[in-house]
Structure formats: structure tokens, C-alpha cells
């Protein structure tokens, strides 16, 4: 039998625990142990960005991190981006307004990435937007409306601050 490790971490503001082998990827912990299937897995080698979550506020690839390493940290997934009352976040609203998603598979990764990007750079230039989302693949949208969504989200954030 493979050794199990007790992993405790804060996910979307709630303390969660699971008993998992050391090789359990954070993406699999979130999806299969904690049932948070909004984080998607597109390549499992760190290129596509579908599995991007926020680790202590910074976007990271959850397929390139072991659950045991994440123990004690704070993780935010797509399920945790909306307000507590369920109101979608400005980034989520912008993606809907601008048709920034089609099949939706890459979307959670983009939402997490963009949420962090705008926190750090509230008024990004076109180049900053492209650089900011440059590690996330989308096969549906041709990125046109994703870029538009990022600018729109920046507008919404500015309007609401």
C-alpha cells in the first residue's frame, strides 16, 4: 500500500482536508477528492493553463504541484471567484458580456489568471494583457474576445471601485 499523507489547506475560504498519496496532483485533489471540478485538466504538463488556480493569490498550474506541497496554503479556484452572495466577479461578468468563452474548458484557467493580472495591473495595456494571458491556450475563441473581456473587466473594476 502506498503511504498516505494528511493534507489540510484552505480552498475558497474553507478549510479542507484529505488523505492522499504524495503523488496526488493538486489538480486531482481539487477535482476528485474535494469535488471542485471547475478546475480543468488539459495537458498535465503545464502548457495549456486550464488547471490554473490561485495559490496564496498567485496563479499557478495545479497540475504541476503536488497536493502535499500545497498543504497549509490558500487555494482559490473558479468556484471561489464569485462574491459570497453568488454575484459573479467582474472578470466573470466581462467574459459573459464579451463572449470570451465558447466550450468553456479553458475558461476557469483564464478567469484565475486574469483575476490575478488585474489585481496587479488594474489598467493593463494591450501588450500587458497579451503577456498576462500568454500561458493559457484556448482552441475556440482565437483569443479576440478574451482580450476584449480583460479590458472590459478592468472597466468594470474601475467603475465599481
Amino acid at each position: 500500500m502506498e503511504e498516505s499523507f494528511e493534507v489540510g489547506l484552505t480552498v475558497n475560504g474553507t478549510h479542507r482536508t484529505a488523505s492522499v498519496p504524495a503523488r496526488r496532483l493538486l489538480s486531482d485533489l481539487l477535482r476528485h477528492d474535494l469535488g471542485l471540478t471547475g478546475t480543468h485538466v488539459g495537458c498535465e504538463h503545464g502548457v495549456c493553463g486550464c488547471c490554473t488556480v490561485l495559490l496564496d493569490g498567485d496563479p499557478v498550474r495545479s497540475c504541476l504541484m503536488f497536493a502535499v506541497t500545497a498543504a497549509g496554503h490558500e487555494v482559490t479556484t473558479v468556484e471561489g471567484l464569485a462574491d459570497e452572495d453568488g454575484t459573479p466577479s467582474p472578470v466573470q461578468r466581462a467574459f459573459r458580456e464579451c463572449h470570451g468563452l465558447q466550450c468553456g474548458f479553458c475558461t476557469p484557467g483564464f478567469l484565475c489568471t486574469v483575476t490575478a493580472l488585474l489585481r496587479e495591473t488594474p489598467r493593463p495595456t494591450e501588450d500587458q494583457v497579451l503577456e498576462g494571458i500568454s500561458g493559457n491556450l484556448c482552441r475556440c475563441t482565437g483569443y479576440q474576445n478574451i482580450v476584449k473581456s480583460v479590458h472590459r473587466a478592468a472597466d468594470i473594476l474601475a467603475e465599481e471601485s
Binding site: H32, E79, V129
Partner: protein
């Protein structure tokens, strides 16, 4: 069509769920299911001498291991050849698990079932397969040489020879004032959706029934295939396509080996079982597309009018032909594009190689055909010293020539007759959008600053909305909700929104009351599938027709209730009322109640419809002869032949004189898909298609070595573009309605991708003055081209012809 919801950029109804992590994709289901993993061939061609599973047996959590010998009866038979064709004389398909011989890297050999995927992979790794390698056939040239065979019983590695012909091309070319001959090449790419394939099956032993979820583009046909293989009646098999993370063609193939094996094992084990394809599997076990070599002979007159065109195409279809020769058919027919070609002959030889199967990827053979025709147009223009756009214009079918019969047989087995269009206007708009006519000065000015700019364009016609049929079912319930279902599936096209727009518009109800279900055999059992830009045309019209039935019934029942002539009634906001008298009204939810005479009153609404309350004359039966209870309707749309969308793309590129890097400065699209249901969604489809086209033009290819190993089977090395590689895409629309269907629509799904390689090749050639005959083109490829052209003047585009 009174309500202004058809044609509006309505925000998508699926987004609320997809933006909050509440989408349900295949691997999000079946949390407690067992997991499957596969042992796949590491050899491109080999005989299996022995399979030793003993090493796997002590892996903790192992449940079962299966090889071909374990598969009973029809489960172990070769997979079906889905689309037979008389020209496909040597069709071959693989087994669900390899029997004796493997013919491509990635072919499944054994299935492992374990408690989770980690453990299943542990066990798969320990299964020892002994191979006797056979000589692999890799690449079209090797397949043609046929020194070795992929299938012993397929001579020359030739699966099919398809000829499409109209007029006497050879004679027309011989008689033409000018003749050119040249060769072209397109490499392999792949659909590469970000969600791979996946199957999850649940056997209900008490009921003797099976529920299967599959990330598929064709759930009804998957059901039929599973039912047949497992010896179950269709009624005992349900197949659901949940949220699907992109398809782009690859998920139309079915049944995949895994779609047979996972349900079979789930029943055998009486356990829930799931297989989620990982990325490496997808590269070597799903499907690729595009690879072709083309030899062209063209004859034309002084004005650039093509008098005769003879094309010989060699198409690499990989190790098996489960999807028939759809790609060769599409290439050889759609090659003609918007042009009147005097006489035409295409001969496509479809060849076996020891590589992954080749099945449609967005565009499905059109990008290759358009590449051939548009490169030809550029050649003709350069040869004559004419403007490239003018040469195209000289060959275009004119607006008053529709319906236009190209004299060939299309992929639906029907004549290739274009329904409608305005190609000169498309070309004019594209020239205007990109600034074609002023570009000479721009190019010269840039050259003065040491920059190399070029412009290119491409025009295409796309057969969309092929039959045979789709259906729609519409039911209004007693709460006023409108339930719309259709059998074809969705992979991000926004069907829940656009079909709701159609239903809301037809029925006169708020779009918020409409709920659309696709790809679920429990809701709609008859369907063909989502491919060939057909969903909006086929299911859209079927849903509209079903809505019209329901509307007719609602007006009749409301007429009885309001004592009004149904012809004087209309529906707005979900309420039926007398035209001009809003007070005389009855809401649809009440009409739904009235439509179903009841014996039992379970709530107040129902009480209004009981047999004692309903206002039917006592001399007549509660349900009139020929009528049915319920406010619902079902209808099908089955067109005589396809609709034909069209478009023109143009691009300006810059090439780096030193590094040979290629940058797209501007990309413009003018597109005509008939009437637009939702312009925002259509534009999104075009954006995505163009980006995939740019991937195919500059980045994506499948690199096989001589032994048949795919060298770039990862996202590190298969270069799908990021946002940083895609320019801003400018779009314009033209709407020439199709006369063939009630809504006047044509399809839009594939349009964006089709001419991109041709357009970029045209633009790079213009910038460099060096012939571009093969795509994709990398900086390394362009560097090589420059080096060769430096020593071979024939590779240079004739000077002087570059000016307008």
C-alpha cells in the same frame, strides 16, 4: 418572425454555468467510478508475439486487465467503417484492442481497470508486450512507393481512388493559351480540443440498461454502435454528451475503441467505469488531418480565366479508414470554390501509412482544396502580370447565376449545386477592408524603411448544413417553460442560446423561458451529429418547424378558450391574445394545461383541466380524433442538398529580413453564412477558425520520424498558438439568405479556418518574392526557401508582377 430576438447578439445562456465551475464535462462525472488506462503500441508497425500481464497483477487496486482475446463476439470485431463509398475499394478498420498486428504508435493493445487512474497507469506500465517489428510506412512518398505494405491485403497501400470530373480537362488545358504545372504540399495538424476524449459508463443490473456519457459529437450514433456491439436494444442504452470541451471534428469519429470497451467492461464488472483520455493519448490515439500532396496542371486565357484544371492529389489517411473518404471527397469538390472553371478533373488517391488515422478536422479537406485553388489563382496572376484579386474576379460565379451547378457529386451524395451567394461583393468588401488597392504604396514605403510587407487573399465556398436530417422537439409545460431538444451535440457553439433564440422568436416567448437540451438520447433519439457546419441549419430549422407546430396547436386551443378565430391570435411575451385586444388573452402555461385533459387535479392549475372543468362539448371525446394531449410538437428538417456559405479573407504580413520570422500585421474576414441568428456567436466562430487556420499556416504540424514515432506529441512541441501569436481579426458580414430552408441560414462553424493557409502563403510570397508551395511555413522553412531561391531563379516570383 416578429420578435427581435432572432439576429440579435444575445448573451449566451450556457455561460452562467461555465463561468462558475458548474459545467459538467466528462471527467467531472462519476467521481466514484473505476478508472481505465490502456497499454498502447510504441511501434508503428509490429506483430504482437506475446502479452504478459502477470507483472501487473499485484498492483494495489487493480480490478481487471483485458486483451483482444478476452473480447467476446461482436465486442472483438473490427470497428465499423462508418461511411462506405464505392471508390473506397480497400477500406480497413482496426480492432478495439489490437489483434496480432499494430499499425500505428498509440494503437490500444490492453485495457487496464483499477481503482483510480494512477493505479491503472501503474499496472499498464508493468504489462510486457513482445513485438516483432515490421517495416513501417511513413509519409505519402513511402506509401506511394509501396516497398512495404500497411495491410498485407491492400496492394500499393491504396485505399481509394476517387475521380471527380466535369468536362474534358486534359483537352481544355491542351487548348489553352497558357499552361502551368506545379506541386503543392500541406502537412498534418489536428483538431486538438483542450478536453480530450472520454467515456463513462454505468450499468444498471436491475433494469438491464446502460447509461453512457461520452465526449462525442454524435451521441445517437454512439448509442446505436454500443447497442449493436453489446447486443442490447437501443431502448436499453442511453448516451449523453455532457458539456464537451471542444471537438473541431475529431469527436465525430465513433465508436472509438474506448466507446465499445468501457461500456462493455462496466456491464461485465457491474461497476461504474470511466476513461479520461490524457494529452499524450490524444496525440497518438485520436485522429489527425490535412496531410496532402497535390500536383496541378492548369490552362488559362490572357485574362486569367481558368479554362481547364487537372489536379492529382495524394491523401494520407493513416492506418485505417473508419470515416471513409469524406476528406478526399470534400477536397476534390470544394476545391472549385467560387469559381467557374471551364473543365475540371481531380483524382485523389487515398493512401495507408503507419500513422494515426486521419479524419475530419474543422474544414475537413477544404483548407487543402482552397490552398490548391488559391495558389493556382496566384500563379496565374503572377504569370500574366495581373493583379491577383482581378484574376479571381474574372473567374467568379456571378450573383445572377444561382443556383449554380458545378457538375460534381458532393459529400452528401447529392449534386454540387450552390444555392445562393454574391461572390463579387465578398471580394470587393475584403479588398476594401484590408486596403488592397492602396497597398502598393504601403509596401514600397515599408521597403524604404527596410521592412518587408506582403499582402494576400483567398476566397472560398463551403458546403454547410449537409443532411440527411435533424429533428427538434418542443414542449411547453404548465409553468410556461419551453423545453427544446434536439439530438445533435454541442461543443461550445452556443446552441443553447441560438436554438433558444429561434424558439423564442417562433413562439413569441421570453428567451428566459426556453431551455435547450442537446446530445442526450433520453430527450431526443434521432439525430446525425454535429459536423460540417450543420447544426444551425439542420437543428435550427427542425426546431423552427417544431415550434410552428406547437404554435399552431397553441393558437387552436387558445382560440377555443377565447372563442376567437386562431387566425386572429398572436403570441407575445408567452401570452396568446387577440390581435388588437390584449385583454382577451390566455397565457401559454394555461394553454398547456388545457391541452391535456385530466382526471386528477394535483394542483390548482391542473384543476382547471380536469374532465369536469374542461369546456369540451359532451358529444365529443376529450381528446379529439387526430389530436394528442400535451402542448408539444416534433418535426424534422431534411434538405434536398447542402447550403453553401462563402467568404473572402485577406492578410498583411511582415517577414523579418534577418530572422525569417513571420508576423501577421492585419487579418480581415468577410463572411456570408446567410441570415445570422446571433452575430456575436457567428463572429466568435470565425475568430476561432481563423486562429486555428493561423496555427495550421505557421505553427502546427505532426512530426513523424522514419520509424513512425510522433516526435512532437506534447503541447511543448505541437505549437498551438497562444494569444501572443494571433493578430486582431477584423470582420465584415454579407447576408445572402439560403432559399433552401425556412430560416434562410447557412452554417458558420468551419468558415474561419478554410482559406487561412492560402492567404498567408499568398502574403508571404508577396513579401518575399519567393514561391510558397508548402504549408505550414516556419522561420526555418522560410530561411531554407530563401537559401534555395538564392541559387534557383525559378523559385522567385516574377518581378514586376508584384505590383498591382
Amino acid at each position: 418572425m416578429g420578435t427581435r430576438i432572432f439576429g440579435e447578439p444575445v448573451e449566451r445562456r450556457e455561460d452562467a454555468r461555465l463561468l462558475t465551475g458548474r459545467g459538467r464535462y466528462l471527467d467531472d462525472l462519476g467521481r466514484d467510478a473505476l478508472a481505465a488506462a490502456f497499454v498502447r503500441s510504441p511501434h508503428a508497425h509490429a506483430r504482437i508475439a506475446d502479452i504478459d500481464v502477470s507483472g501487473a497483477l499485484d498492483v494495489d487496486g487493480l480490478v481487471a486487465v483485458y486483451t483482444w482475446e478476452d473480447l467476446p463476439g461482436r465486442v472483438g470485431e473490427p470497428l465499423p467503417l462508418l461511411i462506405p463509398h464505392p471508390a473506397l475499394t480497400h477500406g480497413r478498420t482496426g480492432y478495439p484492442l489490437a489483434r496480432d498486428v499494430v499499425r500505428h504508435v498509440g494503437e490500444p493493445i490492453a485495457m487496464v481497470v483499477a481503482r483510480d487512474r494512477y493505479l491503472a497507469e501503474d499496472a499498464a506500465e508493468r504489462i510486457r508486450v513482445e513485438y516483432e517489428p515490421l517495416p513501417p510506412v511513413v509519409g505519402i512518398e513511402a506509401a506511394t512507393r509501396a516497398e512495404h505494405l500497411v495491410h498485407d491485403d491492400v496492394p500499393g497501400n491504396v485505399g481509394a481512388v476517387l475521380v471527380q470530373e466535369t468536362g474534358d480537362a486534359a483537352a481544355a488545358i491542351d487548348a489553352a493559351p497558357h499552361v502551368l504545372e506545379f506541386s503543392l504540399a500541406i502537412e498534418r495538424s489536428a483538431s486538438m480540443p483542450l478536453e480530450g476524449r472520454g467515456v463513462y459508463a454505468r450499468w444498471d443490473a436491475d433494469d438491464g440498461s446502460l447509461r453512457v456519457y461520452s465526449s462525442t459529437q454524435a451521441s445517437t450514433s454512439v448509442r446505436a454502435a454500443i447497442a449493436a456491439r453489446l447486443g442490447l436494444p437501443n431502448g436499453k442504452v442511453e448516451v449523453v454528451a455532457p458539456d464537451v470541451g471542444g471537438g473541431f471534428g475529431v469527436k465525430i469519429v465513433h465508436p472509438w475503441p474506448e466507446e465499445v470497451l468501457v461500456p462493455w467492461a462496466a456491464r461485465l464488472l457491474d461497476r461504474e467505469l470511466k476513461w479520461t483520455e490524457d494529452r499524450r493519448e490524444h496525440f497518438v490515439s485520436a485522429a489527425h488531418e490535412r496531410g496532402q500532396l497535390q500536383d496541378v496542371r492548369v490552362g488559362f486565357d490572357d485574362a486569367g480565366r481558368v479554362l481547364g484544371l487537372d489536379v492529382t492529389i495524394r491523401h494520407d489517411h493513416g492506418a485505417y479508414t473508419p470515416y471513409g473518404i469524406i476528406i478526399p471527397i470534400v477536397t476534390s469538390t470544394q476545391l472549385l470554390g467560387p469559381y467557374k472553371i471551364g473543365a475540371y478533373r481531380a483524382e485523389v488517391t487515398s493512401l495507408y501509412t503507419n500513422t494515426l488515422i486521419v479524419t475530419p478536422y474543422r474544414g475537413a479537406g477544404r483548407p487543402q482544396g482552397v490552398f490548391c485553388m488559391e495558389r493556382t489563382m496566384d500563379r496565374v496572376a503572377r504569370h500574366l502580370g495581373l493583379d491577383r484579386a482581378d484574376v479571381r474576379a474574372a473567374n467568379l460565379i456571378q450573383p445572377d447565376e444561382f443556383p449554380y451547378d458545378q457538375g460534381l457529386i458532393f459529400q452528401d451524395g447529392r449534386p454540387l449545386i450552390y444555392d445562393s451567394g454574391d461572390y463579387p461583393e465578398l471580394l470587393r468588401k475584403a479588398r476594401e477592408l484590408i486596403g488592397w488597392d492602396g497597398f502598393d504604396a504601403e509596401r514600397a514605403a515599408a521597403a524604404g524603411r527596410g521592412r518587408r510587407l506582403g499582402i494576400g487573399l483567398g476566397v472560398y465556398v463551403e458546403g454547410t448544413g449537409v443532411g440527411p436530417y435533424e429533428g427538434g422537439h418542443v414542449e411547453i409545460d404548465t409553468a410556461g417553460r419551453v423545453h427544446v431538444s434536439t439530438g445533435l451535440t454541442s461543443q461550445g457553439q452556443g446552441h443553447e442560446t441560438v436554438f433558444a433564440q429561434i424558439a423564442a422568436s417562433e413562439l413569441g416567448v421570453p428567451i428566459g423561458d426556453v431551455h435547450v437540451t442537446t446530445g442526450d438520447t433520453r430527450r431526443f433519439g434521432y439525430a446525425v451529429g454535429t459536423f460540417a457546419s450543420r447544426a444551425a441549419v439542420m437543428s435550427g430549422n427542425a426546431i423552427a418547424l417544431a415550434c410552428r407546430k406547437v404554435r399552431g396547436k397553441a393558437l387552436r386551443i387558445a382560440g377555443e378558450a377565447l372563442e376567437a378565430d386562431p387566425r386572429d391570435l398572436e403570441i407575445t411575451g408567452g401570452v396568446v391574445h387577440v390581435r388588437g385586444d390584449p385583454s382577451a388573452c390566455v397565457p401559454l402555461r394555461t394553454v398547456a394545461v388545457l391541452s391535456n385533459p385530466l382526471r386528477y387535479a394535483f394542483d390548482e392549475e391542473a384543476a382547471a383541466a380536469t374532465q369536469f372543468a374542461a369546456a369540451r362539448p359532451v358529444t365529443e371525446p376529450p381528446v379529439a380524433a387526430g389530436d394528442e394531449p400535451g402542448l408539444e410538437g416534433r418535426d424534422y428538417y431534411s434538405p434536398v442538398r447542402s447550403t453553401f456559405a462563402a467568404g473572402a479573407h485577406a492578410a498583411i504580413v511582415e517577414v523579418d529580413p534577418d530572422t525569417a520570422e513571420i508576423a501577421i500585421l492585419r487579418y480581415a474576414v468577410v463572411h456570408d453564412c446567410g441570415r445570422l441568428i446571433n452575430p456575436m456567436v457567428v463572429e466568435g466562430q470565425i475568430h476561432g477558425g481563423v486562429a486555428q487556420g493561423i496555427g495550421g499556416a505557421l505553427y502546427e504540424r505532426m512530426v513523424y520520424d522514419e520509424s513512425g514515432q510522433l516526435l512532437n506529441a506534447s503541447f511543448m512541441d505541437f505549437l498551438m498558438p497562444y494569444a501572443t501569436e494571433i493578430p486582431r481579426i477584423e470582420t465584415g458580414h454579407l447576408e445572402t439568405p439560403s432559399p433552401l430552408n425556412p430560416l434562410g441560414i447557412k452554417g458558420a462553424g468551419e468558415a474561419g479556418v478554410i482559406p487561412v493557409s492560402a492567404v498567408i502563403a499568398s502574403a508571404v510570397e508577396d513579401a518575399e518574392g519567393v514561391r510558397v508551395d508548402a504549408m505550414p511555413l516556419s522561420p526555418d522553412g522560410l530561411y531554407e526557401l530563401r537559401e534555395r531561391a538564392a541559387h534557383d531563379p525559378s523559385l522567385r516570383v516574377r518581378e514586376g508582377a508584384r505590383s498591382l
